[in-house]
Each structure stands twice: as structure tokens, then as C-alpha cells.
């Protein structure tokens, strides 16, 4: 974010100005050596600016997170440092995996530029993560963050949106602290800005009021979060910039990666040098016929497996009882893949493929280890459970690993209504 008058944002620009002042102040006495020295000073200062810029950019890029994989959601994000006369730093996005398969989305913007802003952004990013992982509501996260900015750190104001996307319920709940609203793309509709309640940025007032809004996101809809580098620029007021963005977004693809690409392309066409830009697009995936997961053989991955499979089964119209029973069966198959991962290759992933043909669900779990001896009570009970809960269990043991396929026919909504 660049809200300050030129020159105050960075210490590194000072030597350049000093150098040129000295040169003009030298008057008639300008000799070859002095000019040479001044040129060297300018070159050195320019190099320092370049070093700081490079440092800030490296810091910034490394602080931005890798996007997680969440069943039912598709993401893309971009970060682009500002043009030559502006500097890098202070814009960030984050995507945080919450409980029950939900996702927290953060987009924020720190006043200031350069290494300082990038470092400050890192503090703020961690703080939001901590509050988000406490499962706090968006408005509460913003209140806590306001306190954090006021009490815990020095520096100017910060704008921030925190949103929680629930791919099972198709909803997005969000609150904003002075940050422009996300642009929502729905299939066969023109893009519109999400309705949010205006509220002050973080670090401005001691008792801010943050209101939450909840919106439905239909399958295949995409929400685009961005920083003001995208809608504000020299000679472009925020209001016009927002209109510009919306107009330029009409007819854009909904797929996040293609959308980010198209948006940045249209920004380039509209204006030249700008503040830095961060954007993050998240799309609710349409319910697919198949589900393919690659999982690490760690107990943690069983939790994400359960969310993914439950989400997929619900989309395949399974009842809650059916979802639960198939999850248990599936969990037994995966628990064995995790339990007997070979110590030497313990990071070798295992795979889960689920498909639906008419009313029949088939789930295959394959790993590179051997099924544990059935004499062990745990796996004996697990196997028995799988056989009871599914119509068919097939275990294929080969030299390269074990493949467990479990099948079950869904009763379907009609059959469910008949039987109470």
C-alpha cells in the first residue's frame, strides 16, 4: 500500500537525493574527480536501493504461503511487486485450513514499503493465523487483530478481510476492516462485488465495529480477493478503479488460475506503474464423478481424507448414515495403509480413488506396503467392520503393495423416504 507522500517510505532513497544535492551545491568548483565520485555515489546508492528492493521482494515472496489442498475448492493466487518508483512489500494473502473442511481466507495490506513492510506483514500474517485456528468468527478475528495492531506493534494502519468458506454449505462468511470487497463470479452472470459493511482499517480506532455478512456461493462460483494495487493508481481514484475492475472482468473465466491471469492482463492494459498487487481466487468445485487423493502416510492425513470423502459422498447424494458408515470402512482401509508404511519409505504416499457408477460407490485405497497380518486384533476388527459396513470388500496383495477396494450401493433418496 502506498499512502504516504513520496520519499518517506524508504530510507534507501535518501542517499540518491543527497548525492544530487551535493553536486548542484558544488557550483563552479566541479572537477572531474568530484563528478566521478558523485556518479559513483549515485551508482552505489542505486545499487543499495536495488539490493533493498530485491531483499524486500525475496522476503515477501517467501512469506506468502503455499496454498493448501481442500476438497471441494480450487485456488489460485498471484503476487506482483509494484513498478519501479514504488516499492515492494506489505500486501499479503493466506489460506488457512480450519476444522470441518472449512477454509479461512485472508487478504491484507500494510501501510509502508520495503523490507520493513514485508517484515511487518509477516507478524500480522502469523497473528491472523493464530486467531483463525482458534476457530473464531471473522468479526472477532478482526477485533483481535485491531487490538494486536494497536497494542502489539508499531506502524501505520492495515486493511484486512477475513472470510470463512464452507464448501459443504456453499457459504462464505466474511468481515472487512477497510479493505475493498471481493468480486464474485457466478456461472452465466456478470461479476458483482460482495456486499460488505464498511468498517475502519485496523489500528485506527480502539473500539471498531466489524459486521459480518454471509453469502451463498453456488457451485462453480469464484470469489476474487485483491489488494488496492489492482484498483488504485496514479490518477485513478478507488471508486473508478473498482468500476474498471468489474467492467474488465466481464466474460472472464471462472477457473481461478485462468481468472488471475486474465485480471492481471487487463490491469496491465489499463495502467502502467502501480503499487504492488496481490490476488487470490477461490472457486467452489462442481461435484465430480470421481475423487482422487494422494495422501501421506501420517495419521493427520486421515482427517483430511475423511473430510474429502465425506464431502464427495454428500455430493453423490449419500445419506448421513451412509456417509458415516462408508467413512468408517474407508478409514479402516487407510489406517492400515498408514500403519504399515515401511519405515524406510515411510513418506511414500498412498492413493485413494472413489468413483460412482449409477448408485454404486467404489473406493480403492492402494499403498506400497503389505496388509498387516489378520492375527492382530486391531486390523482383524477393522477388516470385520469393513465387511459388515460395505457390500463388498476386496483385498489384493501384490509384491508392490496392497490394494483394498470397497463397494456399496446407495439406497437413494426414494428408498430413504419409504423406510423411516
Amino acid at each position: 500500500m502506498n499512502l504516504e507522500p513520496e520519499g518517506t517510505g524508504s530510507e534507501a532513497s535518501a542517499p540518491v537525493a543527497d548525492g544530487s544535492a551535493e553536486e548542484s551545491g558544488g557550483g563552479a568548483d566541479v572537477g572531474g574527480t568530484l563528478v566521478g565520485a558523485t556518479l559513483d555515489a549515485i551508482k552505489a546508492a542505486a545499487a543499495r536501493v536495488e539490493v533493498e528492493r530485491h531483499l524486500a521482494e525475496t522476503l515477501q515472496r517467501n512469506l506468502l504461503p503455499r496454498l493448501p489442498e481442500i476438497p471441494g475448492l480450487r485456488f489460485a493466487a498471484r503476487y506482483r511487486p509494484g513498478g519501479a518508483e514504488t516499492e515492494v512489500g506489505g500486501d499479503w494473502y493466506d489460506a488457512i485450513v480450519l476444522r470441518s473442511g472449512r477454509l479461512g481466507i485472508v487478504i491484507g495490506d500494510v501501510v509502508g514499503r520495503g523490507v520493513e513492510a514485508a517484515a511487518r506483514m509477516a507478524h500480522l500474517q502469523s497473528a491472523v493465523r493464530v486467531y483463525a485456528l482458534e476457530d473464531l468468527r471473522p468479526a472477532v478475528v478482526l477485533e483481535r487483530m485491531n487490538g494486536f495492531v494497536l497494542e502489539g506493534e508499531r506502524g501505520g494502519m492495515v486493511t484486512l478481510i477475513y472470510a470463512i468458506v464452507d464448501p459443504d454449505a456453499n457459504t462464505m462468511r466474511m468481515a472487512t476492516a477497510g479493505h475493498p470487497p471481493p468480486l464474485i463470479f457466478r456461472p452465466n452472470e456478470e461479476p458483482t462485488f460482495a456486499e460488505t459493511t464498511a468498517a475502519s482499517p485496523l489500528g485506527v480506532t480502539r473500539f471498531p465495529v466489524y459486521e459480518e455478512s454471509v453469502m451463498i456461493l453456488e457451485p462453480e462460483s469464484t470469489a476474487l480477493f485483491y489488494t488496492d494495487g489492482l484498483v488504485e493508481g496514479p490518477g485513478l481514484p478507488l471508486g473508478e478503479g473498482l468500476d474498471d475492475l468489474r467492467r474488465a472482468s466481464e466474460g472472464n473465466p471462472l477457473e481461478p488460475d485462468a481468472l488471475c491471469h486474465a485480471i492481471l492482463g487487463s490491469v496491465d492494459a489499463r495502467a502502467g506503474s502501480r503499487d504492488d498487487q496481490a490476488l487470490l481466487a477461490v472457486q467452489l468445485k462442481p461435484a465430480g464423478e470421481t475423487l482422487d487423493l494422494t495422501l501421506s502416510p501420517q495419521p493427520d492425513s486421515l482427517t483430511s481424507m475423511r473430510h474429502a470423502v465425506a464431502h464427495w459422498l454428500r455430493a453423490a447424494d449419500a445419506s448421513e448414515d451412509e456417509v458415516y458408515e462408508m467413512l468408517v470402512a474407508c478409514g479402516e482401509a487407510c489406517a492400515n495403509a498408514v500403519a504399515h508404511a515401511h519405515p524406510a519409505t515411510s513418506d511414500a504416499p498412498f492413493e485413494l480413488h472413489a468413483r460412482r457408477r449409477d448408485a454404486e460407490i467404489a473406493i480403492t485405497v492402494s499403498d506400497t506396503g503389505r496388509w498387516r497380518a489378520s492375527g492382530q486384533e486391531r486390523s482383524g476388527r477393522g477388516l470385520a467392520l469393513m465387511r459388515e459396513l460395505m457390500d463388498d470388500v476386496d483385498i489384493g496383495r501384490g509384491p508392490d503393495g496392497t490394494t483394498v477396494t470397497i463397494r456399496r450401493r446407495l439406497r437413494g433418496p426414494a428408498a430413504r423416504e419409504e423406510s423411516p
Binding site: V323, R381, A384, E388
Partner: protein, 94 residues
């Protein structure tokens, strides 16, 4: 909370005083064979001090069928509410 965490938490609190232990599973979202193994183990330990294990499982919880399939009734009683479980424990108390 996982079965492992529950086991660690419980082992420090279990005493041999009282008619038994009531485990409320109403809020539990998932129970697999590891969890069931834990319940069997817990019931065995309680039995050595003459205590009983009561599980609280709501009537319509999907978990009920899984518990039934594992013959949980051999080692524990199942009630729909905590109140019913408390009553049950006291009725059977020696």
C-alpha cells in the same frame, strides 16, 4: 480429541471408587476400530475393579450401527442420555 488423547487423559483420572464410568459420545463425530479397541480395553480395566462402562449415544447417531456391529453390548451398556446412564449405573450398583 482422538482415542489416544482420551486414553492418556483418562488414565490419570480413573479411580476404583464408584459404580463405573459414563462416557458421553454424543459429540463424537467419528469412531473407528482403534476407538472401539480403546472402549474394549477400558471396559476390561474397569471390570477388574468391579466397575462398569456406560456409553451415551444418541438414538439416531450413525455411530450406533458401528458399535452394534462390534458387539459392544458384551462389554458396555448404551444409553441415549447421560441421565439415563446415571440411573442405570445406580440401579445396578451392588
Amino acid at each position: 480429541m482422538t482415542a489416544l488423547e482420551l486414553r492418556d487423559g483418562l488414565s490419570r483420572r480413573l479411580t476404583n471408587v464408584g459404580p463405573g464410568l459414563i462416557l458421553d459420545l454424543s459429540e463424537a463425530t467419528y469412531l473407528d476400530s482403534a476407538g472401539i479397541e480403546f472402549l474394549f480395553d477400558l471396559a476390561r480395566r474397569l471390570r477388574t475393579s468391579g466397575q462398569r462402562l456406560c456409553l451415551v449415544v444418541p438414538a439416531r447417531a450413525p455411530m450406533r450401527r458401528v458399535l452394534d456391529l462390534c458387539d459392544i453390548d458384551e462389554i458396555a451398556s448404551m444409553d441415549v442420555t447421560v441421565d439415563a446412564a446415571v440411573e442405570g449405573l445406580h440401579e445396578h450398583a451392588p
